[in-house]
């Protein structure tokens, strides 16, 4: 109980009558990376903003480090850090000037600041760029600088809204290694992401859809939600294979990924012949179907498509 740094209970937020967050409950423990996943418009950004104390809520309770954010938003601000999708860097200030600005706003003492600044720049590989204007940094470096600014006051809780969107793979990897080192220091990280391969790196996941919680648990638990198995079929035209079998009985979902098709089936032994027949009918060459371990993406696509068909019917 005591190591739960975030407790959200029945959180609801409406924008002009439209429900953005719908009776949402979850918690986050000290030193954990909690991933917020869901399609655009699921309410991830709204949830993070409410936790950061910059947005009011219509119902529910949000406790951060034991303080009620909805009642006293200012009380938690010195202990948390929030990095919006568009991190507000001053592009006409240098890397160091940006960091020092946020350090001063958070009233970090001079000596701590210097030490922290060196450490953060070192960890993100930006020591060489101290005197470069933030506007002249690459997209990935801007994010890293944003995180450095967000971490200068050593927050207990870090809220990151899609920090890796538009960032190259190398920088993404660096960003994640920064996050892991934070967790090691006992910082809790709430991160929303549109990249599902990143979701596997989180300790726990909160899957959101239209403001509601669809799933809350570890990535492994999420994978267990998938009935049946995932089959991978390589093909020069997986799109054609997808249309050939999608919607058939026992085919729970079919997703084209590069030059392979991922098909979720209820019973692989029973459906193999059925799939082959469908593919041959489409007249597209295809490889032998292989059973693979379900990825978060497979489950995600399956769960969301289930929701959509439920709503459609």
């Amino acid at each position: 109980m005591s190591d739960e740094i975030v407790q959200v209970d029945g959180l609801t937020k409406r924008f002009a009558g439209v429900v953005a967050v719908d009776n949402l409950s979850f918690n986050a423990r000290k030193g954990e990376i909690l991933g917020l996943v869901g399609p655009d418009g699921a309410g991830k950004t709204t949830t993070l903003r409410i936790l950061a104390g910059v947005l009011s809520a219509d119902a529910g309770a949000v406790l951060v480090a034991g303080q009620d954010v909805l009642v006293q938003p200012e009380a938690v601000k010195s202990r948390i850090s929030y990095m919006p999708q568009q991190f507000g860097l001053y592009e006409d200030l240098t890397v160091t000037e940006n960091i020092r600005f946020y350090a001063d706003i958070f009233e970090v003492s001079r000596t701590v600041r210097q030490q922290r600044e060196d450490q953060l720049l070192e960890a993100s590989g930006m020591s060489r760029f101290r005197n470069r204007l933030a506007g002249q940094l690459s997209g990935g470096m801007k994010r890293k600088l944003g995180i450095a600014c967000a971490l200068i006051h050593t927050p207990q809780l870090l809220l990151l809204d899609e920090p890796t969107t538009g960032v190259d793979p190398v920088s993404r990897r660096e960003l994640w290694s920064i996050l892991y080192s934070l967790v090691f220091e006992g910082v809790t990280v709430l991160v929303s992401t549109a990249y599902l391969d990143e979701a596997e790196r989180c300790h726990r996941l909160l899957l959101m859809y239209q403001g509601r919680r669809l799933f809350f648990g570890t990535p492994d638990e999420l994978k267990n939600m998938l009935p049946g198995a995932v089959l991978s079929i390589s093909s020069p035209d997986p799109q054609a294979l997808q249309t050939a079998v999608a919607g058939e009985q026992g085919i729970l979902s079919a997703t084209a990924m590069g030059d392979t098709l991922h098909v979720v089936v209820d019973d692989p032994d029973r459906r193999l012949a059925q799939l082959r027949a469908g593919f041959e009918h489409a007249g597209v060459p295809f490889g032998e179907p292989r059973r693979i371990a379900a990825s978060v993406e497979d489950v995600f696509v399956y769960v969301i498509s289930q929701q959509e068909t439920q709503q459609g019917s």
Binding site: F15, R49, A52, G53, V54, L55, S56, P73, E74, K77, S78, I80, S81, Y82, M83, P84, Q86, F87, G88, L89, Y90, E91, D92, L93, E97, R100, F101, Y102, D104, I105, F106, E107, L133
Partner: protein
């Protein structure tokens, strides 16, 4: 607390130092505007081009018309021989006025009757027309007075000596030559300052909202008043520097005297800057993009100039309009500027204006603080 305000101020000046265009914007346009207003803003009517039609060709008619060119206020640009030319002339050319003397002008005068001088004027620009007709009136009056005295002198010299007369002696105080630059230059200091400070402040905050830094700052423990002070103090300093710059250029270049106490003016400037900063702040809380801020700023600035007494006297406005001027900081600042520059009066006279500016500042500040929340919904 002061550390946070201080770091906001430092940040603002660092940004200003890097922004070459901002430095240009703070120095060149104000000076340019001062020069333009100083030279171009004038109510005097000089060298009015006139056309004359003298159908009498008498000594009297020539005498009257020559008096017009003599003053320097009028220049005879055209001598017309018939009335058809007149219509096209006034309608199409730069000649806004024509004088016409009918045949028999001199004969009527000699008989002691009333003779007519017809003035045709282009009334499109009513102000210029009014002033020019006023000059014509003066010249015609002078002519008829002189003519009457001459006649009386010839016929009854003894009586002529006893005719009483009022002679007008003009003694304009504070501006003996009625130099309109003296009237406008202090006013320009006020209007340039208003424009600079309101737009700079509004834009500076809205820009932070646009690039996302405002949201970033809001999630920090900074208090709203620290944020407001940190954002406005730099523009207070910049505004003060601009006032000094424009005032020095204006007084040195146009030789406008400064007769009052500089400290009284300084107090007025400080109060005025605080009220205009708050106008900018209020605009910034009402707009989410720089475009909106621009439109709102324009919406405020234009009436603020018109209803300030900068060019049009407030006392001549309808009562309702006069009421609006009381909410206009520029109205009070202009009185302080002209009072200290030209009249040399002190706080004993100007305290109501100072008080009004202080009150306006407090009301505007309360309004901005009420509107300025540390949240984004």
């Amino acid at each position: 607390m002061f550390d946070r305000i201080w770091c906001m101020i430092v940040k603002e000046f660092l940004q200003l130092r890097r922004d070459k265009y901002a430095r240009f914007r703070l120095i060149v346009p104000p000076i340019l505007q001062m020069l333009i207003y100083g030279y171009a803003a004038t109510f005097e009517v000089n060298r009015v081009q006139i056309a004359v039609m003298d159908f009498d060709h008498s000594q009297e008619s020539r005498d009257l018309l020559s008096r017009f060119t003599f003053t320097g206020r009028f220049e005879v640009a055209k001598v017309l021989s018939n009335e058809h030319e007149l219509k096209s002339l006034i309608g199409s050319s730069d000649i806004p006025m024509a004088l016409k003397i009918e045949p028999g002008f001199a004969e009527l005068l000699r008989k002691g009757q009333t003779a007519h001088l017809q003035v045709i004027v282009d009334g499109t620009n009513s102000n210029t027309a009014l002033i020019a007709v006023g000059y014509v009136n003066q010249i015609a009056n002078q002519f008829s007075q002189d003519y009457a005295r001459d006649r009386l002198n010839q016929m009854m010299p003894a009586l002529a000596a006893t005719v009483p007369q009022i002679s007008l002696e003009q003694r304009p105080w504070y501006n003996p030559d009625l130099n309109s630059q003296w009237f406008f230059v202090p006013g320009v200091i006020g209007s340039i300052t208003l424009m600079m400070v309101v737009t700079l402040t509004a834009f500076a905050i809205v820009r932070e909202r646009e690039i996302g830094t405002l949201e970033q700052i809001m999630v920090t423990p900074i208090r709203p008043f620290e944020l407001i002070l940190g954002k406005t103090i730099p523009f207070f300093v910049v505004g003060l520097a601009d006032v000094v710059l424009v005032a020095v250029v204006g007084t040195l270049w146009f030789q406008v005297p400064f007769r009052g106490n500089p400290l009284v003016l300084l107090l007025g400037v400080v109060l005025f800057l605080m009220s205009t900063l708050n106008v900018g702040l209020l605009i910034s809380t009402l707009s989410s993009t720089q475009q909106q801020a621009f439109v709102l700023g324009f919406f405020f600035l234009n009436p603020a100039f018109t209803l300030s007494g900068f060019a049009f006297p407030i006392t001549s406005m309808p009562k309702a309009m006069q009421m609006i001027t009381y909410a206009n900081p520029l109205r009070y600042f202009l009185v302080i500027l002209r009072g200290t520059f030209l009249k040399g009066v002190g706080l004993g006279i100007l305290w109501p204006q100072m008080l009004a500016l202080a009150l306006l500042t407090s009301v505007l500040l309360l309004a901005s603080v009420a509107r300025f929340h540390k949240s984004i919904d």
